[in-house]
């Protein structure tokens, strides 16, 4: 993620602000700096930029409503991520979509490219959309967000064991799709 690790000088916003204006400025400063990362994370989780924009806006609203109660503003990123991730997960749960199974057996493939991985990545992308919302969120936070398992547990509110389980089964499903794609004839050798 391009914005991961962005240094934020939060010294001016530590502690409780005395006035609404100061509080508003503090929130806007923190949210602004976190916005691009949040939007990209939501886009990858949801697979939809318009929906990601809505999800980020919703998260901003919730965060502002509770900003007064965030005592440690150095934890703004993690705190905001948690709100965002929960919102994305809820959106995934409510999403209506069906993928039909290919009657003919072997699906057509996208044209092979030089990298030899396009087919596998297509399979991964398709398999990702078939994961449960919880598995999808966990996989994205781990391999896109580069978060540790403990950080994922913090963001999702799940127990560490649950995070490990979700990652395990999510990766199993992705690996199965990936391996199946790699075994198809006519593709670049692995």
């Amino acid at each position: 993620m391009s914005d991961r690790g962005l240094a934020i000088d939060e010294g001016e916003v530590h502690g409780r602000s005395a006035t609404d204006a100061e509080r508003g400025d503090a929130f806007a400063g923190l949210a602004d700096r976190h916005l691009a990362r949040a939007y990209r994370l939501a886009s990858v989780i949801l697979g939809s930029e318009p929906e990601a924009q809505d999800a980020v806006q919703d998260a901003v609203v919730v965060a502002w409503e509770r900003f007064e109660d965030l005592r440690d503003r150095e934890r703004f990123d993690a705190w905001f991520d948690r709100i965002l991730v929960n919102g994305c997960r809820d959106r995934l749960r409510r999403r209506g979509r069906v993928r039909l199974i290919d009657i003919d057996g072997v699906p057509e493939r996208a044209s092979a490219d030089d990298s030899g991985s396009v087919a596998e990545r297509d399979a991964l992308r398709s398999a990702l959309s078939g994961l449960s919302p919880e598995q999808r969120v966990t996989v994205v936070l781990r391999y896109y967000g580069d978060l540790s398992l403990e950080e994922i547990a913090d963001r999702t509110g799940e127990r560490l064991g649950t995070v490990k389980s979700r990652l395990h089964y999510g990766l199993d499903a992705l690996r199965a799709a990936y391996d199946a794609a790699a075994r198809l004839p006519g593709e670049a050798s692995r």
Binding site: S43, R97, L100, R121, R190
Partner: protein
């Protein structure tokens, strides 16, 4: 397995695929949205931002939209699928909705016990189907270990036919085939068995279904970039009739095949009869999720009404909104800081099981947990039960008592009465109703514990067994017959059973599990009549329950309890209705500080009973009192009022 074992190529491609999904640019309107937050009157707010910010207006709009959708749906019947129940009548108005919780289990098959992944997947499918139903919400919970999960559905309160329809559609295997007939026309409702049906789709095609507001057609948006374009098939079969069937071959719908336009949409029209039969709704639900990979079946309790009263209007968001600065924050100190993270996880699960889906939390190095919750800190009716929920240890035991039962609410010394089974053997839990209609909390034991329980109950018929929660007997049933299935019900105080709030709280505690280490609430910004517990004093999580009986007047009786502390610093009222159910009045504290208390009960027969009761010549009014003490560690106070001949009696107290 952990992610560290991933093959480098697989991990590389996975990261590359995810990175490729990243949008290149961030919309400028998002920044404008944030910039406008602290200054709501700013003119820089983008149109999308206005929708996001004006939450109150948005809520009204969403509520109106949902109600409109529900109104369209009512008056129609059911989709003609195998196993669906016939619809009874059609209401003419949709004033309110009712949410029901449906429980399902992934069906264990020979040589195969459902995995957690399969349970997750089944939940996702049914959740998506429920969410697709107009007017239904799909929020529920999963118990992977037990292979069970729940789905919440919201239906018009006066339309049981809709509930039956949803219950019939949700657990069907599902799966929709699209193809053509090569041996002549076929009708909706017929079977393709023995016919020349040529299924064609879909080869990685994703359809996003949209039901038109009038229900006259379902528009299927075909995802762009498919590997086998839908248009190829449509071109080859242009002018023919597309046939939509279930996996079992039942024809659900027919639609002319046309080459899709630039919008890549294929439309399935419905006849008025189909609309009246509810076909669009059912098809929308089935198109909204993939087929079930593993069969599921509904399990008891079946169709638990979550809110027996009326739900005036749907909420657009699951979490309540709280004015800035008025949110509740709680701070806890864990006894063993090394277990702080696990403790927070349990607390988080409890909060979610209470229906609060978004909240903030943090832990410091000293084992201090801070929770920020979207509950108004001055709403005592909401904050006090939540604080009780969070503060409870949550330890459950099933304790044999032989021929020496104790009263409900009594303290049970586990060193004297060893537990037969503990709460860590509970695999699922929920709210149910017993034969009398009283609300009970029901839980299921693991296979091992169920076997133990079955054997024990077979050998100890006629003996007492206490359901002990945090050292206090919640229920002390007598074993009447062997219990082979590991299902245990905890009855509540009074003839009506548990109140919904109490039952929900107990289920949340059972679902989230026991705290790994004791915690102490060290600070809270909640407004309350009693001071917040401090770190130096053990919290007195005294749960006030009450019930009444003995009223023989035809019109029933009403009771009022007045709780008053010895130092007269505060008092509060608790009403017990004619059915014996306690209904806390405004300001009733459900957490009491240690100290001495007096409870005064007044009993009055209802006005229409003034003609005389059955064998009850006594006065219509009676007053009686009882004293009790609260000491640290008390968990439950039971107030019992008995309206007898000529007087009432009241007993109140906590286990000693």
């Amino acid at each position: 397995m952990t992610d560290e074992t991933l093959a480098p190529r697989f991990e590389r491609d996975l990261r590359a695929m995810l990175a490729a999904s990243e949008p290149a640019d961030v919309p400028a309107s998002l920044y404008a949205f944030v910039d406008a937050i602290p200054r709501p009157t700013s003119a820089a707010v983008a149109p999308r931002a206005r929708v996001g910010w004006d939450r109150r207006a948005l809520a009204v709009l969403l509520a109106a939209a949902v109600l409109a959708i529900v109104a369209v749906g009512v008056g129609s019947g059911i989709i003609r699928l195998p196993g669906l129940l016939p619809r009874v009548g059609a209401p003419t108005a949709v004033p309110h909705t009712q949410t029901y919780r449906l429980y399902y289990q992934v069906t264990p098959l020979d040589h195969h016990t459902p995995t957690a992944q399969e349970v997750d997947a089944a939940f996702a499918v049914l959740n998506a189907r429920a969410s697709a139903y107009p007017g239904s919400g799909g929020v529920g919970s999963i118990d992977e270990a037990a292979g069970t999960f729940s789905i919440d559905v919201e239906v018009p309160a006066d339309d049981q036919g809709r509930l039956a329809e949803v219950r019939a559609v949700l657990p069907t295997v599902g799966g929709v085939l699209i193809g053509t007939m090569s041996d002549g026309p076929i009708e909706v409702g017929a079977s393709t068995d023995g016919r020349a049906f040529e299924p064609a789709y879909g080869s990685g095609v994703a359809f996003t279904p949209t039901l038109r507001p009038d229900g006259s057609a379902l528009d299927l948006a075909i995802e762009a970039g498919v590997s086998r374009p839908f248009s190829d098939w449509a071109s080859a079969h242009s002018g023919e009739t597309g046939v939509v069937t279930t996996q079992e071959g039942l024809v659900l719908a027919l639609a002319p095949i046309v080459v899709p336009g630039a919008d890549l949409t294929w439309t399935i029209p419905f006849t008025p009869d189909q609309v009246a039969a509810g076909t669009p709704r059912g098809l929308l639900a089935l198109f909204s999720a993939p087929p079930l990979a593993h069969p599921v079946h509904e399990v008891a309790p079946r169709g638990v009404p979550l809110a027996p009263g009326i739900t005036p209007e749907p909420e657009p968001t699951p979490s309540p909104t709280v004015a800035p600065g008025n949110a509740l924050h709680l701070e806890y100190q864990v006894q063993d800081p090394a277990l702080a993270e696990r403790t927070l996880s349990v607390l988080s699960d409890r909060i979610r099981l209470m229906g609060i889906t978004t909240f903030g939390s943090s832990i410091d190095g000293g084992g201090r947990i801070l929770l920020d919750l979207s509950i108004a800190r001055d709403d005592e009716a909401a904050t006090q039960p939540l604080r009780q929920l969070l503060g409870a240890t949550g330890h459950l035991d099933l304790v044999p008592l032989g021929q020496d039962p104790v009263e409900d609410g009594a303290h049970v010394d586990l060193t004297q009465h060893p537990a037969l089974i503990s709460g860590d053997q509970v695999t699922s839990q929920g709210i149910s109703y017993d034969q009398t209609g009283a609300r009970v909390v029901q839980f299921t034991l693991s296979q091992t514990a169920a076997a133990t329980f079955s054997t024990w109950t077979s050998d100890h018929v006629g003996e007492s067994l206490a359901v002990v929660f945090d050292g206090t007997a919640l229920s002390v049933p007598v074993i009447m017959s062997p219990i082979p299935d590991g299902i245990v019900q905890i009855s509540g105080p009074g003839p009506g059973g548990w109140s919904e709030a109490e039952a929900t709280r107990l289920v949340a505690i059972l679902g989230a599990g026991e705290l790994p280490t004791p915690i102490t609430e060290v600070s809270s910004n909640a407004s309350e009549g009693t001071p917040a517990p401090t770190a130096t004093a053990a919290p007195a999580s005294l749960n006030v329950a009450g019930y009444a009986d003995g009223c023989q007047a035809p019109g029933g009786c009403s009771y009022a309890l007045d709780l008053r502390s010895a130092d007269a610093e505060w008092q509060a009222a608790l009403a017990i209705d004619a059915a014996g159910q306690a209904t806390p009045g405004a300001g009733l504290p459900t957490t009491l500080d240690p100290g001495d208390y007096t409870v005064t009960a007044s009993a009055r027969r209802n006005p229409d009973a003034l003609g005389g009761g059955i064998g009850d010549p006594g006065p219509v009014d009676a007053t009686c009192t009882a004293n009790f003490s609260v000491v640290p560690g008390d968990a439950v106070m039971v107030v019992s009022v008995t309206f007898g001949t000529g007087a009432c009696t009241v007993s109140a107290g906590v286990p000693q």
